[in-house]
Symmetry: C2
Subunit: 306 residues, 2 copies
Amino acid sequence: MSTAEGYGEASELRSFGPAKAAARGAVATMVRSAATASLRTPHTGTVVFKAGERPIPAVALATEDADVIHRWLRAGPVRVRLQLGCHTEPDVDSANVVAEIRGREKPAEVVLLGAHLDSWDLAVGAQDDGTGVAMVVEAARLLARMRPRRTIRFVLFMNEENGSAGAKAYAEAHASEVHVAALESDAGAGRPLRVVFRGGEGGEAFLAPLLQPLAALGTDPAPARQDHFGADLHALARKRGLPTVHLIQDATRYFDIHHSAADTVDKIDPVALAESSAATAWLTWSLADAAGTLAPPTIEPPPKEH
Amino acid sequence: MSTAEGYGEASELRSFGPAKAAARGAVATMVRSAATASLRTPHTGTVVFKAGERPIPAVALATEDADVIHRWLRAGPVRVRLQLGCHTEPDVDSANVVAEIRGREKPAEVVLLGAHLDSWDLAVGAQDDGTGVAMVVEAARLLARMRPRRTIRFVLFMNEENGSAGAKAYAEAHASEVHVAALESDAGAGRPLRVVFRGGEGGEAFLAPLLQPLAALGTDPAPARQDHFGADLHALARKRGLPTVHLIQDATRYFDIHHSAADTVDKIDPVALAESSAATAWLTWSLADAAGTLAPPTIEPPPKEH
């Protein structure tokens, strides 16, 4: 089984390559789709041009078409004519969706569970991030009648794929609140493999007992450190030391469909989704109801992944 | 491993359904793609309107989109607006490609090995029928310096997918010649599983010794009867009793890509293709060089498959 851990690195070429290429005089860029399977299926994704960088057309080719161009390149220069139908529309007002279960003892301390509402428009975004939203809503349903020690806040962020405006607005609006932990469901519908976290000293000892019940789902109950966390927690993490807990799901087939026209509901394994929903609900509950909290990380978050 | 044997039946809905629907008043038809895998990949294929039948628009939906419409239909009537970019162009002159190795003893007796040059235009037709053409050309290369008892004729037919004009023209032009056996390579690039034939009494006893060497390729050397044979042999078979021999290849993944934009060269397993090429060359050689010939079938060929 494979996980999504390499995606951030692999997609940097698509996200940041065009700006670098433009600085060196490129008129456009093409990348091979960051895909693990293809039936002539191009994958899209963020392309970043920072202030002062020169935006140029940037495309991702289906792996089959990238193969053809690679073969042609061996024989000499290749001339390509790009005809693109994509465009960027002006921003419109939209909204995050927020709900919470008020804590019984420390209502001012918040455990945040998030996912994102938007998706790339090639398909319905069933797994990016429909199933993430389903996991958050299912966790809310499972926990609705419980009363945890701290407040659990369920947040469905708007505009993760295209600038994270919802995450930035949330971080701004809730800057004064204490977030003792945050979780994000944005890695498909695969089954729950293990739990990683970003936090300060003693994190393993704090989390280990909370994770034991996950062994019943076949999830490795030993917590491990990992700097990756979801894009929607990034803005909040930069405001203050934010402890994050991340459920690692099986992503063996996730990048067959991720950011492509094939991200449709038929690809979802409902049993795996139910298992990851249960794991997410438990993680959220146990972090909110524990006697103590995870120590915040002492270092800055790494650059945002796309 | 699965083979292509069910495709003829499964594709009848797409091929002949529109004419039947039109006769009952339909304004258009949609079918689920006859596909074994999909990343939102629609499959095309022949649609037949015979003289006097009313042609209507007919589309094949990607399985994911067919699923959605099925779900909607459970809730009530569904209204669909079709916008099709396809059209039929007028016929143009084209050509079959024919080469032969003249027989040393009975040059007037022909063993025909065929494949087809054309393909659906969503992709390059790498396996339908690029690899069939490759198998025929490779058989010709392997046998070029041999001198079989009978003539071997290699035929690359034009226009198999859209009316079999090349096959009809060949049957017409060569109606007076004696074809003692015909083989067609039009089932992808999978490995050689077994050999089927269409012929008269004693066919098994005649073929069995010829097939023994194929066991070295892992091919079942026991001949079996089967009424299916390739579309390009149909016109010839209707002219006279034509004995046909058909190499059954592994088609487990063939209908993932068949008639779709994904029929590209990266999907080909070169080792499997080499094995099926060798099997085809051997079959062709041994039928042309055998002391006797396969008795012709005594019954008419079944309706042409698409």
